[in-house]
Symmetry: C2
Subunit: 451 residues, 2 copies
């Protein structure tokens, strides 16, 4: 397994070395991670990834193996020959403080999702790793929250493993679960994250029984599965004729049948036909599971039309999130200790990209958010909490994150819950406090402001 | 580290158990992995992922830890109590044969990228893992090949780590390198895959020096980096005024300056201004590196306009591939041994999804491909080679894959190399042999055909 300290961009390492030589490495610094914008199809973010990130920050250090690799490198090797650089690399641990929007909370573009306070060296080093984790997990969770809302209480199952990198898939399952999905097909996500693991069967399973008997093999396929798995049997019925498949499942599995899955065709008509046949067979507790490139809009349309669905399987759309394939979160230095020991707010000159300077806090009153200076009192609930550091009392568990999401999503007002795209100029319920605006205007003018 | 055998969908495990009980587990089976379609923006695939996949198949087995987890599971546990199921799970190794399009070769939708021949149990089990790997790596490599072609020989550097899951990023760097990128920012990709690792500096690095001196701190930032890294110094010049940044880099780094990087603004105008200032300072060997959400179309437009660029940094577009965020490759059972010992071609009844039945080979003559039966002689070069099995003489190395890509991309005819979208009805240079068409028509009619 790779050292987490090496899951990073090379320039973090060269900058670290340069900070060691120039004497900047130990200066206090504040970085913030935030999403700049969202496509018009989206109305909110669901913060996700923090639990995973904190676990990696806890033990972050360069291993002897890392240092040996750096020593062999033609660029890093000579730099590590310098005593100050070597001392920094050998001694580096993450000992900073992390303030963050707890996993599972609703958040918006322009709000810091994570604020890291520490030495310049440690806070700089974690940039890439934090971005990789939070970009990925928040991207998946934000989409899955919409999908779960669209399903109106019916369970959604995450089936996207084959559409994601094999390791990303395990964490995508966690993000989907936090966002309200009921479970995943991903076996490892059960072990690693405690996500309920579920599954049905593949077309190949039914086809395997058709090699001998043709389409009649479907009977054997269903019966032999049920003989082994009893009440955990959901039959995939659309390998041949879907409604004939429902009849075979009803007949050959009978009372044990948990459900039937339809994965192609006219899902509305087929789900009605399937429901009718199950009811006719007296299997009113057997459900109809739908899958086939479903997203929140297709799910809403099916339910609006009255499709009798008991659960949705969602794969590609949950993990590849085609309407926002990259979240584009960034991580910016917002304040730094100067030579006199004072903290100074800084930012890149960035026409059109908004302001990022100064450490911030978000205060929320009923999903109306005010972004202010971290030192401002503010009214309402402070959204960022200390997640790592001396004052941290943060529950990193996946279940806690899921509970937070459940609470936030249940309280979401209609304007944010809507699946309709935002209109022209329709933004997010976020304003900037006068004090923060003053500091940012001054930084834009003067390049830096002493805090 | 998780056991690769657990990086899978739950249903692979339940199907395995059912195959053990029904006696199907040991039957010979053939599965094929292929991409059904591509968006009109694309003209070819670059096969990628095989090298990684083979390394995992080699040692594939359920570990004692895996079995202990399955035993605790309420669904799997009882099934594993059955002797035949237990024996299958405990003894399972991948001992099948893999035929595949070598990594780095150009391929098209409708062509098998991987054909797996083995027992039904082993060939079924690897479905999810193969799809996760090949979907991800081929998706990234296919996009990066277009980007590298657009750059017309100028080096492209993969900077997308922060836009990808932290583990996916390491393998995305490999895929980009195979497709023709010159290097990556991903530190771990250097160690794991031998990809050249490179980097410049971040805006935060320059800002860190501005806390004391304001914008003049840029001088110190450049000078102190160059003092440590000499000729490996590429200065990020757009933290404040980009062209003033170029002048500072030229003055304070001087002859050691490898290049300047521009990451925002009007890249065409700025690259010209940067080139001019570098030349004026006598630094004609220092290059101009451009980044900022670049893709193949933006790169082509910059070069068409004569932008004096020496290298491109490409991040989001290379790893998130927004025009095809999921490749949608599938893995289908195409033939199976029946009770009499004969091999039978099978397929799902799938209106509109094309035919998949029967084991196939692709023959290529100058990028005109014919997909035929695996047993057909065919004319031209057979595209799938034995990559795992008794006859395998396949070079899995990343360098070999990169060399194959270089050769294929250099030979690509203009019609495939074009960055323009395919027109209405413009497909791919792929036809189906009469013999395969006959078998598939017969399977569509009869459900199965003895081969």
């Amino acid at each position: 397994m790779s050292s987490p300290a090496r899951l990073t961009d090379r320039y973090q390492l060269t900058m670290l070395a340069a900070y060691a030589e120039s004497g900047h490495a130990g200066r206090r610094a504040v970085f913030e991670l935030f999403v700049r914008r969202l496509p018009s199809s989206r109305r909110f973010l669901l913060a996700c990834g923090l639990g995973r990130a904190l676990a990696l920050l806890d033990g972050l250090a360069f291993t002897p193996g890392d240092l040996a690799r750096f020593d062999r490198d033609p660029v890093l090797g000579p730099a590590l020959g310098r005593p100050r650089v070597r001392a920094l690399f050998e001694g580096l641990r993450f000992s900073g403080r992390v303030f963050a929007v707890p996993e599972g909370r609703v958040a918006f573009p322009g709000e810091p999702l994570v604020r890291v306070e520490g030495t310049l060296a440690e806070a700089q080093l974690v940039e890439t790793l934090l971005l990789s984790i939070v970009n990925h997990d928040t991207r998946v969770a934000s989409k899955c929250a919409r999908i779960a809302l669209a399903a109106r209480g019916r369970p959604c199952l995450e089936f996207g493993t084959r559409r994601a990198h094999e390791q990303a898939a395990v964490d995508a399952a966690r993000a989907a679960y936090i966002a309200g999905f009921a479970g995943t097909s991903n076996e490892e996500a059960g072990e690693r994250w405690g996500v309920p693991v579920t599954g049905t069967m593949a077309h190949s399973y039914v086809l395997a029984h058709a090699a001998d008997a043709g389409e009649d093999g479907e009977r054997e396929a269903f019966a032999s599965y049920a003989a082994l798995f009893g009440a955990a049997t959901t039959c995939l019925v659309d390998t041949f004729d879907p409604l004939r498949g429902v009849e075979r499942a009803a007949e050959h599995v009978g009372g044990a049948l948990r459900g039937v899955r339809l994965d192609s065709g006219d899902l509305l008509a087929l789900s009605r036909g399937a429901r009718e046949r199950l009811d006719r067979a007296g299997l009113d507790r057997a459900g109809v599971v739908l899958s086939d490139d479903l997203d929140e809009l297709k799910i809403a349309a099916l339910l609006d039309a009255g499709a009798p669905v008991s659960a949705f399987g969602v794969g590609t759309m949950a993990v590849a999130t085609p309407d926002t394939p990259s979240l584009g979160a960034v991580y910016k230095l917002v304040a730094l200790e100067d030579a006199s020991g004072a903290m100074v707010a800084v930012q890149k000159r960035a026409p059109g990209k908004g302001s990022s300077a100064a450490p911030k806090q978000v205060h929320r009153q009923g999903f109306e958010d005010v972004v202010g200076l971290a030192t401002e009192a503010g009214e309402g609930e402070p959204l960022l909490v200390e997640a790592l550091g001396p004052g941290a009392a943060y529950d990193r568990s996946t279940e806690a994150a899921r509970a937070r999401a459940q609470a936030d999503l249940a309280a979401l007002p209609e304007a944010l819950r809507s699946l309709a795209p935002r209109g022209d100029g329709e933004g997010f319920p976020v304003t900037v406090s006068p004090a923060l605006a003053r500091v940012q205007a001054e930084v834009a003018r003067a390049g830096r402001v002493t805090l």
